[in-house]
Amino acid sequence: MRRLLSVFPCFLYILCLLCSAQSTAAAPPGQMAPDFSLPATDGKPVKLSDMRGKWVVLEWVNPGCPYVQKHYVSKNMQALQKESGGRGVVWLAVNSTNPSHHDYLKPAKMGEWMKAQGGAPRATLMDEFGDAGRAYSARTTPQMIVVSPEGRVVYNGAIDDRRSVSPEDIKGARNHVRAALDESLAGKPVSVASTTPYGCSVKY
């Protein structure tokens, strides 16, 4: 028993070393996309590195934000999600809202909202501690990140180039995500890789 007790501190130390793992910095275009494992709204964990070999779009979302509503009420985001899915792109919606914020929706409710909107992401992920958001320096909702099959960020920024809440501005705007995917899938480098995202702040 005494031997066992003396070994415990060693286990503890190893445990603590595991606990103090590195956190990776943000993800401007050109950098490797930080890996994460987050639970989807159905509870199943989704790991980014499992999507290697496919193009991935990360969409930061918060149903309570008027800028997000602009793109969902107009069905713009859903259309983009379906279109990208059809091209073999994995679309992951991420909600980094802190559970103590009043925009927070429980996973089941968040899942229902996405379904009710007719959204078609591969999964809607709950980032309640905000660690994935911080790892990507997600500042606003919406904020869009496109990741290459090798795991590199090729676009990080706003969804389009018209900062407003009115759906009328969607039609004439340049959709940076669609453009990035068009260029990438055609084997070309992304011409506009980094823009200032617009939207409400992510509610960490």
Partner: protein, 695 residues
């Protein structure tokens, strides 16, 4: 009749053509209005008008560079022909932190001035109607896009007119907040995601916080700390480039605050290759330090089986903790008394059931509270003064019982007393419950990671881990109850038993002293007098009970005990006295300072502790405050921070959660340029010294 109608029509016409100056438009959380600085405009001369915004408390709109989110206020003018309007002249904004991000904007009542020039050939006496569509984004913790169609009708006079007394103060404040001059020389270079800005001929004012705000979006990381140093009469400021770089001009401009009474504007070339910075999470560049990522190793990688094993081990160890040991003593006495084999096994299982079910109930409460959005962590029950008071009084009473002041049998009427004796099983169950409640905050080694894992993995995992903890704690007694042969190794009852029982009162009293200390920290020193008075009254009540007297004695006893309970009921928690946390070189934990300290090369050591956590107090006494350790800290100029979780503190709970922990102690060493290192829960001088050597 005709005369009356004519009068009415004239009156109506007069009302319609009266110079109405716009009534303020009240929309979501703000009042908006076009106002003019002067009482009238003049043809061919420029005058100052402005957009007046009166924000509801805590709501804000944005500056031209709104920061990490938001949108600057805009004005689209509809002006009479030949009239020109200049751009918005922006007063210096307020920095509005939104950790881990930063916005720049305005709160309260402000005006955004605009210069208007009427054409020189403006017909004399004709009013000018200025109209604009104003659009903004107004936010508190949520954002509401807003806008209004505003008009302002101004008389036009030949000569300059006097300022409008209604708005003079507002315009004066706006102009005072605008940059009052230019920095004599500004230039910047950039490399590796960092901008080095040199402001020549300026120095930060003594005692003022000096910083710069970029006047453009998509260039500077707004929340990152700015490192300022002096090179002769030039101030050199290091800024982080934003990770969402969208600005590509070879120029930099903005305002510098804290270098003169008024803000200064600066503008200059930006030389070098602009590359994106590391963003919000760069430990060297941001205001809030990095935490181990949720998906990284640590609490989440702990498989359920491993967590259960650790929980079981933790439970076993809990039996030895000073706050549990006195309760343990009661059970040892119970076993030593012997009884039938079946009865003993039943008691053992009953005790185990009491412990396990109590831990499950605590887990259930924790899960329910978290689901309800409360920021609670393990040990929360001892953060509540009424709970601490109740436990202190209960343990005092139990100590009196052990000391022989009264017996439990004399507490109850004869029939009930024998009933209790007939159900030692129930008695065992209750002992188990008590043991669990008092053991909970003594977060034994192992329990930190296992509990953190449990709570984050969801209700079933949490219940399983807490159940394993309870099983571990009860295991020794179940074993003893099952194998009475082992009990035979224990000495037989004899005179030694009475002495042992009386001796065990002392750990009980020691626990009461510790709880009294915890209470004094929570409610203030005055609580001691009330708790002490209650203990005296309860002691007297206990003595009165033991005097085999009649109803009068019993009544007196009840009265004494009741008075004691009322006297002891604690008041509200007293706000923490900041000076009290500055002891022996330890300062109060301030998470936002850690990044800045690291950026300046100072390591930070944070001790997450609580008064009711015995492991924490032991580590403090035996390791943290010894001479070798203090000297090691001083040698590396480590800033020592104490995060005191004795009272409920959601900020500390959130910080603990981010480390995958749900209880204290947690020891974190933040080294400049490295990820934070979490040290073990049982410290030793060697561990600290080795960790510091690695800096």
């Amino acid at each position: 009749m005709k005369a009356m109608i004519r009068t009415l029509c004239l009156a109506a016409a007069a009302l319609l053509t009266a110079p109405c100056g716009a009534a303020p438009v009240r929309t979501d959380n703000v009042e908006a209005e076009l106002v003019a600085r002067d009482l009238a405009l003049a043809p061919g001369r420029s005058a100052v008008v402005g957009l007046r915004l009166k924000h509801d408390p805590q709501w804000h709109t944005y500056w031209i560079n709104p920061g990490d989110s938001g949108m600057p206020t805009t004005l689209q003018w509809k002006l009479p022909p030949g009239t020109r309007a200049g751009p918005i002249q922006w007063p210096a904004p307020k920095r509005i932190p939104l950790p881990p991000m930063m916005n720049h904007g305005y709160e309260g009542e402000i005006v955004l001035p605009v210069e208007i020039t009427l054409p020189a050939d403006w017909p004399a006496g004709q009013q000018a109607r200025l109209a604009a569509r104003a659009e903004w984004l107004i936010c508190k913790d949520v954002c509401i896009p807003g806008g209004a169609e505003l008009t302002l009708d101004m008389p036009v006079l030949a000569a300059n007119s006097a300022p409008d007394p209604k708005w003079k103060a507002l315009f004066d404040a706006a102009f005072a907040a605008m940059p009052g001059g230019k920095v004599p020389g500004a230039e910047a270079t950039t490399a590796g995601g960092v901008i080095t800005l040199k402001l020549a001929g300026v120095k930060p004012l003594a005692g003022r916080e000096a910083y710069v705000l970029a006047g453009v979006e998509g260039l500077v990381e707004s929340a990152a700390p700015q490192i300022i140093r002096q090179e002769g009469d030039t101030t050199v400021i290091t800024l982080a480039v934003t990770s969402n770089l969208s600005y590509t001009e070879p120029r930099i401009s903005g305002i510098a605050v804290g270098f003169a009474e008024r803000a200064l504007s600066f503008e200059g070339p930006l030389v070098g290759k602009l590359t994106a910075g590391k963003g919000m999470d760069d430990p060297a560049a941001k205001g809030v330090p990095a935490r181990p990522a949720a998906g990284s190793a640590g609490a989440e990688d702990l498989s359920l089986v491993l967590a259960l094993l650790f929980a079981f081990g933790g439970g076993l160890i809990l039996n030895l903790m000073p706050c549990v040991f006195p309760i343990l003593s009661l059970k040892v006495l119970g076993f030593a008394r012997g009884g039938g084999t079946v009865a003993m096994r039943a008691n053992g299982l009953s005790f185990a059931a009491g412990v396990v079910l109590s831990f499950l109930a605590l887990a259930g409460v924790l899960i329910a509270l978290r689901a309800a959005g409360e920021a609670v962590g393990w040990g929360f029950q001892l953060q509540s003064p009424p709970v601490v008071t109740s436990l202190a009084l209960l343990f005092f009473a139990l100590g009196l019982n052990l000391s022989g002041v009264f017996e439990f049998q004399s507490l109850l009427p004869q029939s009930l007393a024998s009933a209790t004796l007939k159900h030692p099983t129930a008695d065992a169950f209750l002992s188990g419950v008590l043991a669990a409640v008092i053991a909970s905050p003594c977060t034994a080694p192992f329990m930190g990671a296992a509990l953190g894992y449990a709570v984050m993995q969801g209700p079933w995992a949490a219940l399983a881990v807490f159940g394993a903890l309870g099983a571990g704690m009860a295991a020794p007694y179940v074993l003893l109850a099952w194998f009475p042969a082992w009990l035979k190794r224990l000495p037989r009852p004899g005179p030694w038993l009475a002495r042992f029982k009386q001796f065990l009162a002392f750990p009980m009293y020691a626990t009461v002293v510790w709880l009294a200390w915890v209470l004094s920290l929570q409610v203030g020193p005055d609580s001691i007098i009330w708790l002490g008075a209650a203990m005296v009254l309860i002691g007297m009540g206990a003595w009165m009970i033991s005097q085999a007297g009649g109803a009068v004695w019993r009544l007196g006893a009840v009265a004494a005990i009741a008075c004691g309970l009322v006297a002891a009921w604690p008041g509200n928690e007293v706000a923490a006295d900041p000076s009290s946390t500055r002891q022996n070189g330890w300062v109060a934990w301030a998470e936002s300072d850690i990044g800045a300290l690291n950026a300046a090369g100072t390591p930070v050591f944070v001790d997450f502790t609580a008064a009711w956590c015995v492991t924490c107090q032991v580590n403090k006494k035996v390791v943290l405050e010894t001479r070798p350790v203090r000297e090691a800290f001083a040698a590396k100029s480590v800033r020592l921070m104490r995060a005191d979780w004795t009272r409920r503190d959601p900020a500390i709970t959130a910080a603990l959660n981010a480390f995958g922990r749900n209880g204290v102690p947690v020891y974190v060493l933040y080294a400049p340029g490295k990820a934070p290192v979490i040290l073990p829960e049982i410290l030793s001088e060697r561990i600290i010294i080795d960790a510091l050597k690695a800096l």
